[in-house]
Amino acid sequence: MGSMDIEQIFSAAIEREIEANQFYAGVAKSAANDSVRQIFTELARDELGHKELLERFKHDPTLDMRIAAPSQDFKIAEATESPRLSIEMKPADAIALAMKKEQQAVEFYRGLARSAKDSVTREMLESLANMELGHKHRLETVFVDIGYPEAF
């Protein structure tokens, strides 16, 4: 992977977003809970948006893809165990699963960035990691609202 050129990086990143979109769309169809179905549908739509963004960068070399890391990283995904995928998932599990996936994406791009041979490629991969970090941050913010139910 270290020898990938910029176009290959974009292609791989786009492929990840397509896979994520298909994954979320698939589980949205099978989820038993209405809230979970809606969450996965929204996530599938988000991934499609990410794919379109990456395609714009891929096809327009005049665009400079520099994405800064979000100002905060709550590290909630890192502190949360990945839930098991099932049709009986609760809304919090759906968000937890998605934020774990974003955490894995961050780690994927950061790993590639560390082994990149040139600074242009490294910066591109760091930008992609930052983009995924932004997605993780957004999901972690949702998880705080949804992840700590109170039993009475």
Binding site: P91, V142, Y148, P149, E150
Partner: protein, 555 residues
Amino acid sequence: MAGLAASFGSGAMTNSIAELQDAKVLFVIGSNTTEAHPVISYFMKRAVRKGAVLIVNDPRRIDLTRWATMHVQHNVGSDVAYINGLINEIFRNGWAREEFLATCTENPDEIRNAVKAYPVEKASKICGVPVDTMKKVARILGESESASVCYTLGITEHICGTDNVKALANLQMVLGNIGKYAAGLNPLRGQNNVQGACDMGALPNVFHTYQPVDNPAASAKMAKAWGVEKLPTKPGYKMPTMLRKARDGGTKILYCVGDNTVQTEPNMAHTIEELKALELLVVCDIFPNMTTEYAHVVFPDTSWGEEDGTFTNTERRVQRVRRALTPPGQARSHWWVMQELGTRLGRDLGFTSGRSIWEDMRATSTSLAGITWERIERQGLQWPCPTVEHPGTPTLHLSGKFTRGKGLFHALSWIPPAEAPDAEYPLVLSTGRRLWHYHSGTQTRNSVGLEAIFPEELMEISPSDAAAMGIRSGDMVKATSRRGAITVKAWVTDRSPAGVCWCAFHFYEACANVLTNSAFDSVTETAEYKACAIRIEKVSDGVPVAPSVSRQARP
């Protein structure tokens, strides 16, 4: 909490205290805020000074009505009918936030249909609020971009307390007022640390941070952390059941911490019989009180100024508390008492300080895991705060997501209080708290200054009822219910509407809970402290006082 948790998934204040000052509309119901939550009332008054509309909904002319744009005097125990009527009017006029209903709630058509049974004309007959007033309130709420609802025990201390809370949750969801700054649904929790006690698992069915004891995963996690093979997975009894079972041997030992049970539970005579039936009653408190009289063992506890630990206030904010005084005599921190008891029972609990207990909790916590004592050295943090990187959460549901996913509507029908006035007991008694005293008075009645300001209980009687019975302020009267009787000084005041009397439970000499009914909400088992039937008889004349004479302590 149960009603709110059923609707939202969380039972705590959705917003923060400071946000109240920025509210456009404040809808306060069942909360005598200036007396029971005086600090929070300052934020409400500040909102009014900044132009907010304050709607105070209370059968009594409480002090907060002096700042109110509107005072709505609904009948005691009519909340569900009143709120359903408002929601009906909001739907009828197209003021419901349809986009919020469609995207953030689970069953909006259910509430849309259910409130059709409560047109304002019908609701008005139940709640006693004029139709035009109900329409005006609905319009204010419906046309405002946001509104904050605050409530307290006037909502929850009814046999339908859970439904009352669900009705308010319905209202705020219909208006799309959840997940907004300076809006939301805000139960003003009692005392300084009721929220903290619940967070730490002082409930019969959950470990700390609301992890259910009957959830095998949660139970296994705690067992592993605490080094035991297994933990009980059956929820315990709520307090009324706990006490009731004392009489049939189902409860043998009661360990009572900082709760003057005799004076604070309804139907005092009944409570005393239940305590007498116990094999062992252990009471931990800071001064002797009505309950220590019946205890086999009393452990003297430290007071708040002698303690090192945390309090969690009503806005979910965990705050450090530091010892300012050395505990007198044999008084000990309550964790120390528990540790010593554990040791004598063959179990080292591992408690060495307030901080060690916090860390023990944090290790297996979820929503409090990010709150360390270092982080709250100067400023408290609001949960959820799941990691040390997280800044805490002043406002819940800002993402548009409820803790349970989507907000859940509940179709509700009004039911009357358990005990209605009749020919023998023609007046409604409602009860509560006064500014100058605190709960059963274990602390405040040992404070010379507070005892001097407000030294005795007063029975508040409306001018029309008092006139009909020939009673004047200062006369001694006997108040009698089906449970017992008290003799108390009368205060004739238009704070009480006709047909309604009111007194507090701070004074054991004339305690409201001699009279109150132990009928309770079937979900929470919270008793109906706010409504029972009594009769009043004059016992003796007081010193005649000219009507123009007033006293600061009796506004």
